[in-house]
């Protein structure tokens, strides 16, 4: 579903991704963990072509992206992305946030887009909020709307970049519950998170990244019980206190 082949990415002289190889299979949930600054966000952004890379190749749902590719919108239509800071459109109501891209990009009728949007809002438990503006929502509600907005494009893959890191602790659960639901429905997902409990429960595979390299990958039970890599051990001992 996602094939990442030898990706290199630099910001100026700073090489942030140093040859990443990773395959994500259909319906697989891959959780990416690692210290801050290790390149996790950059990797996700490359998969969605929000970030240009210098070497290597990424294939998503049969669409290949290389450093020279131009047709990136086709790829982005198939890949949904959820950001740490939600990035809802503040000048549009919740339902208009969700229907904007389906109407403009997929050329759905307003009616069709709205009935799908309402179904998605029900799925994330926010049907009654459809006509309010994002500013009146709590963080957890905003993130659930952002998930619904991404799902409205009917993506084949969903990327999550620390979706709960900007939330008050009591709101983390509601967002993770939506994500878990999505995983159980068979969505292919790549998730960057610091929620180790969630990773353990929902991930099919855990990737540990540091300094732009995948240092270790394994099924969650093995990874969390018996990490091999020294840096992974140090990282886990810090976050699993």
């Amino acid at each position: 579903m996602i094939k990442i082949k030898n990706i290199h990415k630099k910001f100026g002289k700073n090489e942030v991704l140093k040859g990443i190889n990773l395959h994500v299979h259909p319906q697989e949930v891959v959780v990416v963990i690692g210290p801050s600054g290790s390149g996790k966000s950059t990797l996700l952004r490359c998969v969605n072509a929000l970030e240009h890379f210098h070497q290597g190749e990424i294939e998503v749902c049969g669409i290949t992206v290389s450093p020279k590719s131009k047709e990136l919108n086709e790829l982005r239509k198939k890949v949904g992305m959820v950001f740490q800071h939600f990035h809802l459109f503040p000048h549009r109501t919740v339902i208009d946030n969700i229907t904007l891209a389906p109407i403009q990009v997929l050329k759905q009728s307003k009616k069709e887009a709205e009935s799908k949007a309402i179904a998605l809002l029900e799925k994330v438990g926010l049907a009654e909020k459809k006509d309010v503006y994002p500013s009146s929502l709590s963080g957890g509600q905003k993130q659930r709307v952002a998930i619904a907005r991404a799902l409205a494009m009917e993506p084949k893959v969903m990327l999550f970049d620390e979706p709960t890191s900007a939330l008050d602790p009591e709101m983390v659960g509601e967002v993770l519950a939506v994500m878990k639901n999505l995983a159980e429905e068979g969505m292919t997902m790549m998730i960057v998170t610091h929620e180790m409990g969630f990773a353990r429960e929902v991930a099919d595979r855990v990737i540990f990244m540091d300094e732009g390299i995948i240092m270790e990958e394994n099924v969650p039970n093995v990874f969390f019980e018996h990490p091999q890599n020294e840096r992974a051990k140090a990282f886990l001992s810090k976050v699993l206190l």
């Binding site: 982005r76 949904g80 992305m81 503040p90 904007l100």
Partner: protein, 219 residues
Amino acid sequence: MDFRWDIVIEYLPLFIDGMKLTLLISLLGVIFGSIWGLLIAFGRMIKNGWLRFPFSLYVNFFRCTPMLVQLLLIHFGVMPLIMSTPNAVISAIVTLTLNSGAYMAEIFRAGIQSIDRGQTEAARSLGMNQIQAMRFVVLPQAIKRMIPPLGNEFITLIKDSSLASVIAAHELLYYGRAPMGHYSRPWEGLLSAAFIYFVICMTLTVIVDKVEKRLKIDD
């Protein structure tokens, strides 16, 4: 000092005519200037430095030379190349357009760049192209922030349009100066003109302030 109201009354119809032309010149200047300024603003945001350079040069030229010099250059230098008998009103409108275009370009650019990059990224990640992201996501938010500075630019433009009296465009200050010639009296004409400018600009200032407050509440 005696103030001769009879002169004011004698010239009043001309002051009104001049005011109308002042408003027309300024209004056309602000409309054409906005369209022109939006194009310049996009030019100023081109990533490639070489392509961006002419737009930056344009903006800086018009911001860092006196408008009177620009007006004289356009009226006596540029317009004769285009039309056989230069028209002072057209020269004034062209100058105001080119000049306000430079200032408005900066207002547009600042407004667009004040919108969080995350908004564009969210739009792009939903498959929108750059134009769709600009049109449906960035501009609607940016325009709200641009309205107060654009209102102020319009006020500045109305005052600056008085320079056109130098090339004998029959706008408000042109007639405000007329009694000086006929009666050798400065006060009546100039104070009348000043009063009319003041009323127009003060009214606009109040409107801009109101709009600004309103937009703040919506945020």
